[in-house]
Symmetry: C2
Subunit: 229 residues, 2 copies
């Protein structure tokens, strides 16, 4: 009976099932430790049948990574309502959910595993970074970003990636603290840039104007002033 | 005559010459665009002779990368004298010198070129990051770093990498501004962490205590306060 049901799976349906099974395995252990045999066994099909749908482990890995990166990019989408700090904090919560769910696979990918250097995997990573960049610009209501704003946003994105990787390595700091910290880091990097550039200063003042007095940005400035005095 | 001189080169001397020639080419153009033929021609020897010293382009690339990473790590070394902000600013100057000298090769490597994913190249990149981390700890006079300090330092190192990469992509911001900005970014990330953790707060107060009133840290705090008011 079961076999009968399986035989009726269409090609695309079977591909999607294999991607799901592979992604699950690649998320729980470093992808170079996961064999095609294991994927076949977890999917309940034979090894040759896996190769019928995917020519090799790399193509299955890339398909799994494509699904994961679409999933991550979707989590960046946030309604354009309410204070910016609170919006970014919600996105950070979903980002850490993702990192938590895919820990070993995320680490292996970002630290340079066997599949890194494939132009497909690099393009997928870049697409996710670009999605994050576009979302942030949209929330800041900026169409034509000056070079210094682009630098702040893109370098903060890499800071968020490395913060997540360091967190995964032992989880020695509560993730809620890091989610909040990354919101503050964004404000801090923008403030450093604004301290030396009038255009960035004007932009930051516009953002801060709409932040609540008890929001994360105001809170941060208060704490830094207290620290310095 | 010239050929006679070349013939007398010892094996190690010839290897070092080839590494130098290759590094020069890999620094000026993306390494995947540089052929063994070109390296042979620039070194004034035949293609088969290159293969006599290096089994393939990857091994020559790895040797060139080893020399470049030793060079970069050496630039992190800074006398433990004077205010910390000024020390870090001098290191940032030497870091941007390096990035400037090896621009296309640095970009290709860090953005994931054909040789990325080689365990040797990844290990070399990690060794340079570790050298930077150890230098910073030593300047901060910390033997046993708490997790939050390790996070600040390591995530700042990745911020410095991405700032340099973004700078190389069009050089739209003067590098002197970015060198100074990275010193401030370090202080800002430490301040964010210190704002929520007493141990980090004590550490940062100890650092700030020895900074001059007209140094970069004090300057930054003043500017952020001005911005917020």
């Amino acid at each position: 009976m079961t076999t009968g049901v399986r035989r009726r799976m269409g090609v695309e349906e079977r591909r999607q099932q294999l991607i799901g099974v592979a992604l699950e395995l690649f998320s729980r252990r470093s992808p170079d430790e996961v064999s095609i045999d294991e994927i076949a066994s977890a999917a309940g099909i034979s090894r040759p049948l896996v190769y019928h749908y995917f020519p090799g482990k790399l193509s299955l890995y890339e398909a799994a990574l494509k699904r994961a990166s679409d999933d991550l990019a979707a989590r960046f989408v946030e309604p354009r309502e309410g204070p910016l700090g609170a919006r970014l904090l919600r996105v950070m919560g979903r980002f850490f959910d993702f990192v938590d769910e895919h820990g070993p696979g995320f680490s292996a990918l970002m630290r340079g595993g066997p599949a890194v250097g494939s132009s497909t995997t690099n393009a997928l990573i870049d697409a996710v970074r670009q999605a994050a960049y576009v979302q942030i610009l949209s929330h800041l209501d900026v169409q034509d970003p000056p070079a210094r704003l682009e630098l702040v946003i893109r370098s903060w994105i890499s800071l968020a990636e490395s913060t997540a990787l360091i967190w995964l390595d032992g989880r020695r700091i509560p993730r809620a603290e890091l989610e909040k910290q990354l919101v503050h880091d964004f404000a801090a990097l923008a403030a450093v840039s604004a301290a030396y550039d009038e255009e960035m200063g004007a932009l930051l003042r516009r953002i801060l104007k709409d932040e609540p007095a008890d929001g994360p940005f105001a809170d941060l400035v208060g704490r830094i002033v207290a620290l310095a005095s």
